[in-house]
Amino acid sequence: MQSSVFFGLSTVAYILAMIAYITYIAFKNRAVGMAATGITVAGFASQTIAILIRWSEFYQLSGMGIIRSVPLTNLYESLVFFVWCLILGYLVIEFKYKNRSFGAFVTPVAGLALAFIDLSGMSKDIQPLVPALQSNWLLVHVMMSFIAYSTFAIAFSTALMYLIANSEKQEKKITFWGVVIAFALLFGLTTLYPQTAIMWILSFALVVVVDIKLNVDISKRVFPKKESQPVNILKNIGTILALSLVSIAAILIFIQLVKFQLVKAEEAAKIKHLGESVSAAGFKGAVMGIVGLMFFIGLVSLKYLILNREYHLFWTLILGISVALLSAMGIDYVAKFLGDTAPNEGMTLKSTFRSSSPVIVLASYTAFLWLIYLVWRYGNALKKIISSFNLSSDFIDELTYRAISIGFPIFTLGGLIFGAIWADQAWGVYWSWDPKETWSLITWLFYAFYLHARLLKGWRGPRVSVVAVLAFTVVIFTYLGVNLLLSGLHAYGSLE
């Protein structure tokens, strides 16, 4: 296939462009900046050619109309198109606002997506279309959805930039390590014992109750407003809700405890030595208890991070995790070229976090923690760099808003409305609460929240930026998580 050559070229170009943009930011060298733009444009051109070649290959193979042969029918093709839109959007911004600084934030996202394609081992073959996809709606629905996703990605980049440029490091070292360790433990324990997820619900309810009982009114913190605003009704509802959640949880635990006891009694009858069963149950209980405690600490920290305006820690964690994932994939990439794994095998993070050698895994996690620490500790340097761009904070904030205000209507029309019309024609229901549909709605609600917070409540700056950053993680889940983890009617977007 000729298209793969051009795809390869564009991947290399975007990675080079990323390096060039970062160098440009560091040294402010005009020539480097021009080179970065040049490389990006070349990569974009090559990717455009690749997409067109693939389109014509598909057209010849399928024998269907040219519109129906659009290469947007599986995860691979959609990721490629997403990257293409993202780069296009970035280039538009670069030329319109004559500013190259965003490149260093957008090209890594493109690089991350392309690296993910290569490393996850997803199928790159041209696959024949299943009957449900043979419709002209495919082009508009999928294309508009991805255009919207890319504007959301741009909003994510600028929102993160805003947070970097406008937050002070105010946390003490101990807060940082407390939060990081709590999160690390949470992550580790949930991976080891997924059944502890139920503790999440419990501790969240606990957090809310503690908050209300101690009269730390969440609503007042989240929406600081004039004194005259009646908050009692909401507070009461909040209390009722929280209490009912806790009661549900308590009932659940009670039922389970009883059941657990019954099961244990049965087992105990079988086991001769009573001590064995008691210690087994005790161990399990202890583990659950510790995990619950950890969740509690994690949630409390997360809550105070955002409510106490500790944005520095927030962006540090987000950026640290992104950079760590990107570097880990970079290492996978190098390992792939050095050739110690067979190609086309799922190998994301196989050379680092998911290595078969425990030493490497340990080293990776240590390096990961150090990376986050360094970003946190020396984050102010990054802040200085961004301030040197001479971009006003308001402008970056406005750019986030504008990206979302372009993406939101496109997403509503192309993703939700056209999706509903197509579903109505193909499946006979315009809305079936399929996981993809539901997650699209959740994404939509997130961005609707952003818009209402900004336009109605007058939120500006860090608070809306946090929303924009979090909303994009929802977009990633809607796009990848649903297809990879949940089943449903949109199942054709899976890795196979």
Binding site: P128, L129, V130, P131, A132, Q134, S135, P194, Q195, A197, I198, S219, P230, I233, L234, G238, I248, I251, L252, I255, Q256, K259, F260, V263, F395, E398, R402, S405, I406, F408, P409, T412, L413, I417, A420, I421, D424, Q425, A426, W427, G428, V429, Y430, W431, W433, P435, T438, W439, L441, I442, L445, F446, A448, F449, H452, K457, V482, L486, S487, G488
Partner: protein, 517 residues
């Protein structure tokens, strides 16, 4: 603090943005649970899902709790529908609450600004131009026209003049159009729930049905047994209600009422599947398209006919039939193999043969008997014929051919293997189809709310376009004599996209200054 009446409290409760956010979050959070738990799925499936989440010990308990809370079919549970209703109500009250103020902004004519307000506006610029006020005014008018504004004029309270203009005040209504569209969509959904149905029916080739089956479950075992009994009887009557009513000795109207009780919906017409066909990609078993030729009969007469496909349904009297699945019948005895026969002499004819039947091969005195059938035949490693699928991917008919000399030989004729069609004497027995062996799976839906939903979608698209891509721009230009020239001050405001309006104002100022040179 002043006492508020109950109705005021209720109103302010529903008009609060906080309530909206609480509802947003609740819909979002509960929806997440709904995507993890497979909806309307068998119990075992979700127990499996829950085992992954809470462990084996707790899974059955968690299932029971979630089940009693309605999470197994949550998008139709009363509390989720109540949340959606609450969302609609909140939206309505919120919009009504804020509407008068916005309406005033839209309809109030523009007035010159007092000095303090003028100086407090976000976008401002200034230029001094040579020449008297009248000349300056003309120049300002021209510059305003160049950026697309038509200005009004009034004398300023502090001497001099003010020119002022606005653009697209109605764009402020975009948000309301969007919000009301969501209400329209919700209303459409409610109409669909109350006056429509979602059902399915599997129709074998050559059979007509005048009933469809609703997807809803039946609550008790007795009900489910009764429903199964009715379904069996209907299957035996091949969906013919008149025939069944006669057989049972009940009036047709009584039968219809009984059927509805068990989720079986009688139609005013009969849908017959004349033919069903699957096309494959090349020689693979991956379907490229599957389609059914449906004919609607009313009063025994055909009314309309259409080949339906996955993306192209048939609509008749408000009921839409969608191609959704297909399969092979258990009983193949009523099927017919369709052969196109071409003799070496050049004659050709079409013959339909049922299993067990014999026919004389034209142009020779040999007789062929239909002795075996396979829906999907292929040769295994040893070269023996095996059936590899339970779908009609490559139908094959086993024939026993008796020559005039009395020799008997057996052979398979495969639909997809032209090589297998040619007999020893050169006669071609092309197997066109094995008709009457497949059923077509149809979704049937009646939803009078769809048009309302579409209307809501349309207005939502328009509303969002207006709300996001248009902005209400207002600007004022103050002209005052200043040291032989005229001082021109500009103040402006926009409801959205201030940055681009700022650039427009910069352009305006540049135009004003330009002619000084």
């Amino acid at each position: 603090m002043e006492q508020k009446s109950v109705s005021d409290r209720v109103w302010s409760f529903f008009s609060s943005v906080k309530l909206a956010i609480v509802i947003f979050s609740l819909i979002g959070l509960t929806s997440i649970v709904g995507t993890i738990i497979e909806q309307q799925a068998p119990r075992e499936k979700n127990i499996q899902v829950l085992t992954k989440l809470v462990g084996q010990d707790l899974a059955p308990g968690a299932y029971n709790v979630l089940d009693s809370l309605g999470f197994m079919d949550m998008y139709r549970s009363w509390w989720f529908l109540a949340l959606l209703m609450l969302f609609g109500l909140n939206l309505l009250v919120c919009s009504t609450d804020r509407f008068p103020a916005i309406w005033r902004q839209v309809t109030t004519p523009l007035k010159p600004l007092p000095r303090e307000t003028f100086n407090s506006l976000g976008i401002r610029s200034e230029a001094v131009i040579k020449g008297g006020q009248e000349a300056a005014k003309e120049r300002a008018r021209k510059a305003l026209k160049a950026i697309g504004f038509k200005a009004q004029e009034e004398a300023d309270a502090h001497g001099g003049y003010q020119l002022f203009a606005q653009k697209a005040p109605w764009s402020r209504l975009g948000i309301y159009i969007s919000h009301f569209s969501i209400l329209i969509i919700l209303i459409g959904a409610v109409i669909g729930i109350f006056f429509g149905f979602k059902a399915f029916v599997n129709i074998p080739e050559g059979v007509g049905y005048s009933i469809v089956f609703q997807n809803r479950g039946v609550s008790t075992e007795a009900e489910s047994n009764e429903r199964n009994r009715l379904v069996n009887m209907l299957d035996m009557a091949k969906g013919d209600l008149n025939y069944l009513a006669q057989n049972l000795g009940v009036p047709l109207s009584q039968l219809k009422t009984d059927l509805r009780k068990y989720g079986i919906i009688p139609l005013d017409f009969t849908v017959k599947c004349e033919d069903f066909d699957v096309e494959f990609y090349g020689r693979s078993d991956m379907p490229k398209a599957y389609k059914s030729l449906l004919t609607v009969y009313e009063g025994g007469k055909p009314v309309t006919s259409k080949w339906i496909e996955v993306n192209s349904p048939l609509k008749y009297k408000g009921v839409t039939f969608y191609q959704s699945s297909y399969g092979l019948l258990d009983d193949l005895s009523s099927g017919e193999a369709v052969f196109d026969i071409k003799t070496p002499a050049g004659a050709s004819e079409t013959r339909r043969v049922k299993p067990g039947e014999s026919f004389t091969i034209p142009g020779s005195n040999a007789t062929a008997t239909f002795v075996d059938f396979s829906p999907a035949l292929k040769a295994d490693e040893m070269g023996r014929p095996v059936t590899y699928a339970n779908l009609m991917n490559n139908p094959a008919v086993g024939l026993e051919i008796k020559s005039p000399g009395g020799q008997v030989s057996g052979r398979w004729i495969l639909e997809r293997e032209p090589a297998s069609w040619v007999l020893e004497d050169g006669t071609i027995l092309e197997l066109k189809d094995f008709w009457g062996a497949q059923y077509t799976g149809l979704q049937a839906r009646k939803d009078p709310g769809v048009r309302v939903v579409y209307l809501g979608c349309l207005t939502l698209a328009i509303g969002l376009f207006v709300a996001f891509f248009m902005s209400h721009k207002k600007l004022w230009v103050r002209l005052q004599p200043d040291k032989g020239g005229t001082r021109v001050q500009v103040a402006a405001t926009a409801s959205k996209n201030k940055f681009s309006f700022e650039r427009q104002i910069e352009k305006l100022t540049a135009l004003l200054k330009e002619e000084n040179k």
